[in-house]
């Protein structure tokens, strides 16, 4: 099932940095500080470092797998399991991708409803948003990469806004260091898997990279950038909030914006949340594009059709959730699914690829 991709539809290797990074930064970054400090206290930043090492290893596994079969996840599946099982697994991958799309969009809409417009109708907003997404996705992968690129470049100014919080921060909050057990740190790291999920996207667009060997470096750089931003936000949040207060904030990143005051703007969170729609754009574009592509490979339909159908499906799913608890449950389910996909399924697949390669190598010679 080797599919040829025309050279002018491929992207330069260094753009992989933006794709990976943009797909990782989403809604998770707005509220990751609370769960991590619940488990690991203000040693949470060590948990971030632990999970950083883990995702770099997983990224290495993914890149190794993709370069072994020189293709995307469907090629990997076919390489290991053959044609039919790979199709069934493909359906599960589509479901997983739709799960993440719905989780991201619904939690973003929840944030808007809590912070900006309590009366915002989920359906209408998601309808407009999905039209935007479809407009981007039908433009092809290069357009999606462009959206990822701008969603990293344009909101850079927000990072500097957090510096305005520093006068109110007290870094002695972080002391004493290492007052949590290693198990606590690991538990903290586990809570981070949701915020860091998204780097697996390279499994889907690997064949679209011009020189995949050169892209490896950039993929790891993308991960590093994500880790750095999370570390930066975690340290500032830990310094800004006393421990008890942090537990009362679901979205500490947004709460920190409230203190920001400029001569012409107060309450920066409005601008921040509105701008976040640009940031979650690739979070939805890339999975939707990927699932549409997999559906095309499995069912042999046009990607335009598959993407539109999947978008309708996700639109319906997004509109179903209405209460905070149901969203919470759903998002944590999506988080668990992400954890199992990235940290359990990918290593298993990697081992399977190794075995399959050994078997295939030995096969013809013996």
């Amino acid at each position: 099932m080797k599919i040829h991709i025309p050279e002018n539809k491929k992207i330069s290797p260094f753009l992989v940095l933006f794709l990976i990074h943009a797909n990782q930064i989403g809604v998770g970054v707005l509220g990751f500080q609370r769960p991590i400090s619940k488990e690991a206290g203000y040693d949470g930043w060590i948990s971030i470092l632990i999970i950083a090492v883990a995702i770099h290893i997983i990224m290495w596994l993914i890149l190794k797998m993709c370069s072994t079969v020189d293709g995307d996840i469907m090629s990997v599946h076919e390489f290991v399991f053959g044609k039919w099982i790979s199709k069934i697994l493909g359906i599960f991958v589509i479901l997983y991708l739709c799960l993440t799309i719905v989780a991201i969009l619904r939690s973003y809409i929840e944030i808007i409803q809590v912070w900006m417009f309590p009366s915002l109708q989920t359906f209408w907003f998601s309808l407009v948003f999905f039209i935007l997404i479809l407009y981007l996705v039908t433009g092809g992968f290069r357009v999606i990469t462009g959206a990822a690129f701008f969603s990293v470049i344009i909101p850079v100014y927000i990072l500097f806004i957090f510096l305005l919080v520093l006068p109110y921060a007290d870094f002695t909050n972080l002391l004493p260091i290492f007052d949590h057990s290693f198990t606590d740190l690991l538990k903290g790291a586990y809570t981070m898997t949701y915020a860091f999920a998204g780097f697996e996207a390279i499994l889907f667009f690997y064949p679209f990279i011009k020189e995949p060997i050169k892209a490896k470096k950039w993929a790891h750089m993308g991960l590093l950038l994500t880790v750095a931003i999370h570390l930066y936000l975690a340290l500032i949040a830990f310094a800004y909030f006393p421990r008890e207060q942090l537990q009362k904030n679901i979205w500490p990143t947004i709460t920190m914006w409230k203190i920001v005051q400029m001569p012409f703007v107060e309450r920066f969170e409005y601008i921040g949340i509105a701008n976040w729609c640009l940031i979650i754009l690739p979070n939805i574009c890339i999975p939707l594009w990927a699932s549409g592509r997999i559906a095309k490979q499995i069912f042999g339909i046009r990607q335009k059709t598959s993407v539109a159908v999947l978008a309708l499906f996700c639109l319906a799913a997004v509109s179903l959730f209405s209460t905070r608890t149901s969203i919470q449950k759903y998002v944590s389910f999506a988080g668990t699914a992400g954890f199992y996909f990235n940290f359990v399924y990918v290593p298993i697949l990697f081992i399977a690829v190794l075995i399959a390669r050994r078997v295939k190598k030995n096969g013809p010679s013996s």
Binding site: L15, I112, Y135, G139, A147, F264, R267, I271, N275, L278
Partner: protein, 498 residues
Amino acid sequence: MKKLFWRRKKKNNDNRDKRLEDLLQKSKDFRSVSYKNPKTQISFTLSFIETLVDEKILHESALPKLLEEKFHRIEEVKDILPLSEVEITNDKDQIEQKLLNGSVLLTIDGDKETYCIFSAQKEIVRNVTLPEVEFSVLGPKEAFVESLKHNLNLIRRRLPMKELITEKLTVGNLSQTCVAILYIEGIVDMENVNTVRQRIKEIEFDEISDNSYILQMISDNSHSLFPQLLDSERPDRVAATLTEGKVAILVDGSPHALIAPTTLVECFSSFEDYLLNWTMASFIRLIRLFAISFSVLATPLYVATISYHYELIPEDLLGTLVASRGAIPFPPILEALFLELTIELLREAGARLPTKVGQTIGIVGGIVIGTASVEAGLTSNVLLIIIALAALASFTTPVYRIGNTIRLIRFPILIFAELWGLLGIFICLCFLMAHLLRLTSLGRPYLEPLYPPRQYDLRDSILRLPFTALYRRPQYLRPKRPMRFNERDLKKKKDIDE
């Protein structure tokens, strides 16, 4: 059988000849005059369309020779006439076309098969004048005129090189408009030339009045508001872009040239940027960027903050706003739409009127309507300032078409701002971004060098770096010779006290 066939064909030809003559006879400006050469006693007829022919050429150059020199056969006429374009032909199509382009048809009585046709075209061309749309304080002051010949002359004078190629095509079923494609061989990517040629050949329309027709017909996405080909009235700008490796399209009867491919960034650069020192030019480009974002976003931001997010505004500023809006009976969106429409009316009225009246209308309209509506309590002072500034800012665009684009894209953003506040503005901007990402110009990405990011092209985009830094031609054009000059040839900078 063969003979019959031949005869029928001949008859057809005769009929056609007759039809041409009959049709022409209906026009009062068609002339057919017979003369007799006093030396050889041969009588000949000149047929021409009086209004197209330069009488001076006919009477001072052609006729004296025809009457004084000896000739017996039509072939000999070619040697007598002191004109550059003289042809002996019997191709009826060619004759018809040339006759309608201002040539004179010469026939000798007794020889009905061969014709001599010589060009005596009268050209009514206005003088080369100042550029009006792309005026610049510094630099050359000539602009294109309506004649293709003159325009080609203006460009060729700036690029005296054999590699400058002009291809000619004819488009328009009725108008038979001449279109020239210009490029420099050895620099240009021939793929671009082929695309342009192909697209122009595929044009199906009866009359092509201006290059704007061509622009709309060969654009990659003809529904888009953004111009995907740049039009310029400055020969200097066209010559400069040709050396970069672009393709220029000139249309007979149009005082503008089209430049392709282009990018969004180029739409915001003026030729004067290259005439100024690079720091100044970069500063002006940044000002323009600010002006354009202000012009697009100012009113929507006003509506969004006043309608939804007044908490966003610091207390002191809010006081000023509340004071100015206190007695206004309308919601912010109506107030904004009312003023925006007023400005649009003024612009449109100003554009349709003669220059002097237009200016007066602009000033009178602007001041009188603005002040009166504030005094009447229909709009607030602050919004009036914002809208006036936004309109002013939108005039900073150096390319007329992109200025129009900016005029229009404000309105959807305004409506989304009313709908969802800041969120609506951002959603709308995302739509804009998606649209721009999808756009291409001759298949080249429109947002280049911003995306795909190219660091060399960035040197002449938002900023304009000095000429020593611009040693590469724009990469998105894929020029055959990518270097303008070798950077190593530059003189080394001296160290202190050397």
